[in-house]
């Protein structure tokens, strides 16, 4: 685990908390820890308590759903400069998807319970954190909606058929 001073720097330098007031940042440091995940390790599991969120510093994380009898479906990948996980701020604080390290991942994790308590006590901190999470959640929702549009169709299955015919 890094020193509080280093953690503060990491928070300052990460795009997600860019420009945060130093007093509020120091409150964040108290709930933060440096973490490292090897390939295949999970940062979050569907249905389990969402006790953390992560500022990703390096590597790639796959947000995925396990499908029995098939490869897990990767819904989205996330990497350096992004924030992972918002179930910690929404009751009942349970993760919605599996988050697996697709490469070696370095991240700063934040203890959700710790941060929620501080946010309750200090509305300024609460507002500051939510002010940054809400646009991110909006962005994710918009991206997910675009993704389901399947903009570049037609379906692969159809195309493969026509290839056979031409074959």
């Amino acid at each position: 685990m890094g020193q509080p001073h280093d953690l503060g720097n990491i928070i300052d330098e990460h795009p997600f908390f860019k420009g945060i007031d130093s007093g509020l940042r120091d409150l964040l440091v108290g709930c933060a820890a440096n973490e490292r995940f090897e390939v295949g390790e999970f940062l979050a599991r569907e249905g389990r308590p969402a006790d953390k969120f992560y500022l990703l510093r390096a590597g790639q994380v796959a947000v995925e759903v396990d499908v029995p009898g098939k490869q897990p479906v990767v819904l989205e990948t996330m990497g350096e400069g992004e924030v992972l996980g918002w179930s910690w701020v929404v009751p009942p604080y349970v993760s919605t998807f599996d988050c697996r390290a697709a490469t070696l991942v370095r991240a700063l994790s934040f203890d959700g319970k710790c941060l929620r308590a501080k946010m309750e006590n200090d509305p300024a901190l609460g507002y500051e954190v939510l002010r940054r999470f809400v646009p991110m959640m909006g962005h994710r929702l918009a991206s997910a909606r675009l993704q389901i549009l399947d903009l570049y169709g037609p379906s692969v299955a159809k195309a493969v058929k026509s290839k056979k015919k031409a074959g």
């Binding site: 990767v74 989205e76 992004e82 675009l146 993704q147 399947d150 903009l151 290839k163």
Partner: protein
Amino acid sequence: MTAPIPDPMLPRPFRIEKVRRDLSDTFTMELVPAEGGEFTFAAGQFNMLYVFGVGEVPISISGDPGDRSVLVHTTRAVGAVTKALDALKAGEVVGVRGPYGTPWPVEAAFGHDLVFVAGGVGLAPLRPAIYQAMANRERFGRVVVFYGARTPEDILFKRELERWRGRFDMSVHVTVDRATGKWSGNVGVVTNLVAKGGFDPSATMAFVCGPEVMMRYSAAALEKRGVARPSIYMSMERNMKCGCGLCGHCQWGPHFVCKDGPVFRYDRIADLLSIREL
């Protein structure tokens, strides 16, 4: 009247030199003028391709504007004419009218970071501009390609993307909407790549090409990132029968997409993009 006006509706015969299958429904043809000569075009322009007795279709040019000896078209077989094109083999002849339309303003982007945002087969109309940028590499700051495809199997010009990614003077980011097989790259929409940056928004020119919805949201992502509207260009698509402003089909508000476009500056069309069924 002096010299007779050349008839813009008469196709010029080109022989197919080579056909390469890019994707299950997408192919690239190399054409040379059947009667000899060269073909000159600017990156972003298109031709009307005629299949004998079947019809014509507007297809953007996907080759290198620096090479006048060969005309390259990448086509997705989705309609009657494009399917008939797909059925042609090397040695056969197609008719060509063009080049038509406005180009990507590659030279106007000198001195800037140059960002390409492509979706699906929208990479094809951008490729000539990428070639032109790489031929003038020292004139640009960063050169960045963001490319979104449906699945890993739908990535167009895959080897070339890999080759570009291997260069030290260009960054290439690819994402797919749906991961399949052993894909270990990015998953998510192309706008997510734009949002992550990697260019100086205050000194960036961005060229966007793909389905209209993808272009609208990509332009919005670029703008959100700080790229000014007049620095964003996109290539529009509408029904075309003539390609040269005579048939009226491609009208879009006050514009003829065939001659006022297909490449438009975003600030000049942003209002039109939000009007339904225009």
